[in-house]
Structures are given as structure tokens and as C-alpha cells.
């Protein structure tokens, strides 16, 4: 294995360029180095003008999602040696506007996140003095998987529906809505349904499954969406058969 590797890094400098270009860098290629380590090496030692987001370097903050050799990846969890002898192509995540270099604009997701009401909704709140809401480990298991989303945007970058139809609420936001719908403490499923069962919601999804493949946290957003389709269909049938008084 050679001890250096070539990176082709996408650059976009909005003040001076009208479209992105690629820049080539040589970096060391060590066994325990991830793509992010190579970018940090470039930033610190070679070219301080390269811009990208990163923070925890342990796959939990969700900042460093990029497209590595065509695949959406967390660059802190993507080893360079897996791409040896190179070159490695590093681009911003797909399906988002590019702000600069490897930085994408994600306020669209932030707006959609609020729309799905990702908080506990209850008719009456239990006072704190009465203690916790009981929740068995099995009930916790119902939604736990969907609560693991780190908002890294890899699923949006992988989703062709979102690429073609930007109004699609998208995998992560729907998975988070399901996270609350399936929580035994929550009673807000009905409030979330109008938005989710809209054509920009679950029915936009045609089960491509790429979101689940891209997810670094095994959230399985595709499953969240399919489960919700079943539920929405059943509730539609119920209201169809019992137009009044259906609960």
C-alpha cells in the first residue's frame, strides 16, 4: 500500500466562480485515517481556504456528510485505505444547493423538521410530581430505532424522489415523525397525519430504499415510511367505512 493518496476535492468559490471545479491534493494515507483526517491535513498544512463542516469526529454530530466517490458518507467514518490506491473524489452532498466548497445549504430540512412536530403531544400533561410515564422496554423498542437519527442528511442526498421533487418531506423528517407517533407517551399522531399523508409526505416515496442503505445509524427511514403508509391506508379505510364516529 502506498503511503500517500490523491484526493479530488470539489471547490466552489461563489465570489469568483460560477460553478464548481475540482482541485487535486496529495495527502498521507494512514491505516487509521478517515477521509476527514485527509481534509483536515489539507486545511492545516496545504490549503487553508478549503471549507467544510466537521465537529465530533465520532459519527454522532452529523456535520461531516459528503459525497465520497459518488456515495453519501460520513467522512469521519470512511477510511482512506478503503479507497487505496485512489484517487478519492470528495464532493458536497447531492440534492442540496452548494454554499461553498463542500458546504451544503440545509435550511429546507430544518423547516420540514418543524412541520412534522417532533415533540411529545398530549391532551393532558401529567404533573412532574406524579413521576414518569411508564414505558416498558418493549414499548421503548417500538420507536427507539427511529430516534437514532443524527440529521446528517445522507438519506436526503441518496433519495431520488427528493432530488426530483424538493417538496417531498423526505426520509429523516418522516422517520422522526414516526419516532414520536410510535412513542407510547405521545398522542399527536392525528395532528401529524394531515401533513404526512399528503402527496409530499409518505406517498411521494416509492420505496427506492437508498435512504436506508445510506443511513450511518441504521435508522431505516424506508421502513418508517412504509409502516406509515400501512397505517394511513388503514385509517383511511376506517374513516371511509365509518365516516362518523370513527376513532
Amino acid at each position: 500500500m502506498s503511503d500517500t493518496i490523491t484526493l479530488h476535492v470539489a471547490r466552489y468559490r461563489p465570489e469568483v466562480e460560477t460553478e464548481p471545479t475540482f482541485q487535486e491534493y496529495q495527502t498521507p494515507c494512514r491505516k487509521d485515517w478517515v477521509v476527514l483526517d485527509a481534509l483536515n491535513y489539507i486545511k492545516d498544512k496545504v490549503d487553508g481556504t478549503l471549507s467544510y463542516r466537521w465537529s465530533c469526529r465520532m459519527g454522532i454530530c452529523g456535520s461531516c456528510g459528503m459525497t465520497v466517490n459518488g456515495e453519501p458518507k460520513l467522512t469521519c467514518a470512511t477510511f482512506l485505505t478503503d479507497y487505496a490506491p485512489g484517487p478519492v473524489r470528495v464532493e458536497p452532498l447531492r440534492n442540496f444547493p452548494i454554499v461553498r466548497d463542500l458546504v451544503i445549504e440545509m435550511s429546507d430540512f430544518m423547516r420540514k423538521l418543524v412541520q412534522v412536530k417532533p415533540w411529545i403531544i398530549r391532551a393532558d400533561e401529567k404533573p412532574l410530581s406524579e413521576g414518569e410515564y411508564l414505558q416498558t422496554p418493549e414499548e421503548l423498542d417500538e420507536y427507539k430505532q427511529f430516534s437514532m437519527c443524527i440529521n446528517c442528511m445522507l438519506c436526503y442526498a441518496a433519495c431520488p424522489v427528493y432530488g426530483l421533487e424538493p417538496h417531498f418531506i423526505g426520509p429523516a423528517a418522516i422517520a422522526l415523525a414516526q419516532r414520536y407517533n410510535l412513542d407510547s407517551r405521545d398522542q399527536g399522531a392525528r395532528e401529524r397525519m394531515d401533513l404526512l399523508s399528503d402527496h409530499t409526505g409518505i406517498w411521494g416515496c416509492t420505496f427506492v430504499g437508498e435512504c436506508t442503505k445510506a443511513c450511518p445509524k441504521s435508522v431505516d427511514p424506508a421502513a418508517a415510511i412504509q409502516r406509515y403508509k400501512l397505517k394511513a391506508a388503514l385509517s383511511w379505510f376506517k374513516s371511509f367505512l365509518l365516516p362518523r364516529g370513527a376513532s
Binding site: T18, R94, P97, T206, R227, K229
Partner: protein, 138 residues
């Protein structure tokens, strides 16, 4: 995409990538996605064909015979074969989806996906066999 205006200070100019015309060839799942979108035409055709068939049946034996003769037309045959392919494709998608949409628990543990998909496929095979038996043998 319209040409973005030139950069003005403090107003970031985002670059929106143009999607390549052949993006859907990039991975099998994208191709499957586009095929499913495209299939809607053929599936719709399948429905129309069935409706025509029922209509012909209602008109009597002679009318039905005319319909059958027309169906033997190579063009209709080819279109129907394509439509069959797409319907099967949808069925498989559906069966793959089923275990993810349905969460069945047994003794507090989630039933493995194969246990849900398996019976689906089995039921499909039985139903197909039944239809084949009625059409061909009966």
C-alpha cells in the same frame, strides 16, 4: 436551472447542480425507481385491458371471441407481456416492502422479515397455481 445572478456581497450565491439526464443509470435502485414510475402506463393499460375483457364477456360469446382474436395481435401481445413484467415487478416490490411495513411481535421479539415475506410469496404461488389450474386445466 436559470443562470444564477452574480455574487453580491453578503448575499451568498448558492450553486444548484443540474441533474444529469442519465442519473437514473447510476445505480440499480434508481433504475428500478424510474422503471416503477414508467410502469404506471403499462399497469394502467392492464386495467383497461381487463375492463375491455369484462365488457366483451358481457356482450356475449361472439363478442368475446372477437376480443380474444384481437388479443392475439402481436402488438397487443407484446404490450401485454411488458405489462405482465411490470405487474410482477410491482408484486415483488410489494412483498419486499411488506416486512418493513408490518411489525409483528411474538413473545416481545420482532418476527424476522423472512417470516412475513415468506407467506406472502407462498400465497402468491398458490394463487397463481390456482389461476393456472382454472385457466389451463379447468
Amino acid at each position: 436551472m436559470s443562470q444564477t445572478p452574480i455574487y453580491t456581497e453578503y448575499h451568498p450565491r448558492w450553486y444548484r447542480r443540474r441533474t444529469s439526464t442519465y442519473w437514473w443509470l447510476r445505480r440499480p435502485s434508481y433504475l428500478a425507481f424510474i422503471l416503477r414510475e414508467l410502469s404506471s402506463l403499462f399497469v394502467a393499460w392492464f386495467v383497461i385491458f381487463t375492463l375491455l375483457q369484462i365488457h366483451a364477456l358481457k356482450q356475449g360469446a361472439e363478442s368475446y371471441q372477437r376480443f380474444v382474436d384481437w388479443s392475439k395481435n402481436p402488438v397487443v401481445l407484446i404490450v401485454n407481456i411488458i405489462a405482465l413484467f411490470f405487474v410482477v415487478f410491482h408484486a415483488i416490490t410489494w412483498f419486499k416492502l411488506a416486512p418493513q411495513a408490518m411489525v409483528v411481535r411474538l413473545h416481545g421479539k420482532r418476527v424476522p422479515a423472512a417470516w412475513i415475506a415468506g407467506p406472502n410469496y407462498a400465497a402468491w404461488a398458490v394463487a397463481s397455481a390456482l389461476v393456472a389450474w382454472i385457466v389451463l386445466g379447468g
